[in-house]
Symmetry: C2
Subunit: 123 residues, 2 copies
DNA sequence: GGATGTTGGTTCCCATTGGATACTAGGGAA
DNA sequence: TTCCCTAGTATCCAATGGGAACCAACATCC
């Protein structure tokens, strides 16, 4: 890879990382795992409305990216624990800033939406 | 809205903001507009591989959320300028931290992917 | 003077994706 | 016996994303 990171070039690997952030489920999983190690169904219960398919898909790709680690125990029924890797922990910190922005500015965003929708209705 | 922001509840408005971040095109537009005001086709030329449809869709929803502002001039052909609002500027700053993370850690992510894929191939 | 290119989009169609539901195995509890 | 638990997978359908064509009104090229 000779060219410097340029997120606006589709071929750039940085874009891959950005696309991963662009996955709402991945973001929610990172936030939860930052606080504690969790099992598959524990994650499912906390993330309202995620499907089993999307959760297992999300976990698999986060594991492939080295952001979370998976440990299975031969209990009955089988137990699987997911936790952040050190790399994942650095990303989770950055992502947390985003959720703080969201919680701080959601009111302004909603106001803007209402203004926009009123204008559209008038036009 | 009585309940406190809880991004894990699908009904929560904070989730809407998170979903907006979860739009890779929106993120790229915010980064570009942080540096300068740009016209429609200027944005299109800089964001490699975005389609006209997705760009106009992205700009429309960013405008609705009060993050960017649109100004049209009655020239021939018509000129349309997009720029960040003050609200959008605060979000762009936060998002920039994310792209810095991406550029700093892309190597580690790629290493992890190669390790994972070798393991999969072996299994 | 016709073809082409410019502007900022919209519309149509198809491929990919996301989500709901059902199913797996191997037991424990009612 | 039937249901529930675990952590997923398989299947099907609806929604979304992207490519290409099209729009008006003019400037420039040949």
């Amino acid at each position: 890879m000779l060219h410097r990171p340029d997120a606006f070039d589709a071929r750039c690997p940085t874009r891959q990382v950005l696309d991963r952030i662009g996955d709402k489920w991945a973001v929610l999983v990172l936030i939860l795992l930052e606080q504690e190690t969790l099992r598959f169904n524990a994650l499912r219960r906390r993330i309202d409305s995620i499907s089993q398919k999307m959760l297992s898909q999300t976990l698999k790709s986060l594991e492939r990216d080295g952001l979370i680690s998976r440990r299975a125990f031969a209990t009955v029924p089988v137990t699987v624990e997911y936790s952040l890797t050190p790399l994942g922990r650095t990303l989770a910190g950055t992502v947390a800033a985003l959720t703080q922005w969201a919680e701080a500015h959601i009111g302004e965003v909603e106001d803007a939406q209402r203004r926009y929708d009123r204008g559209e209705a008038a036009a």
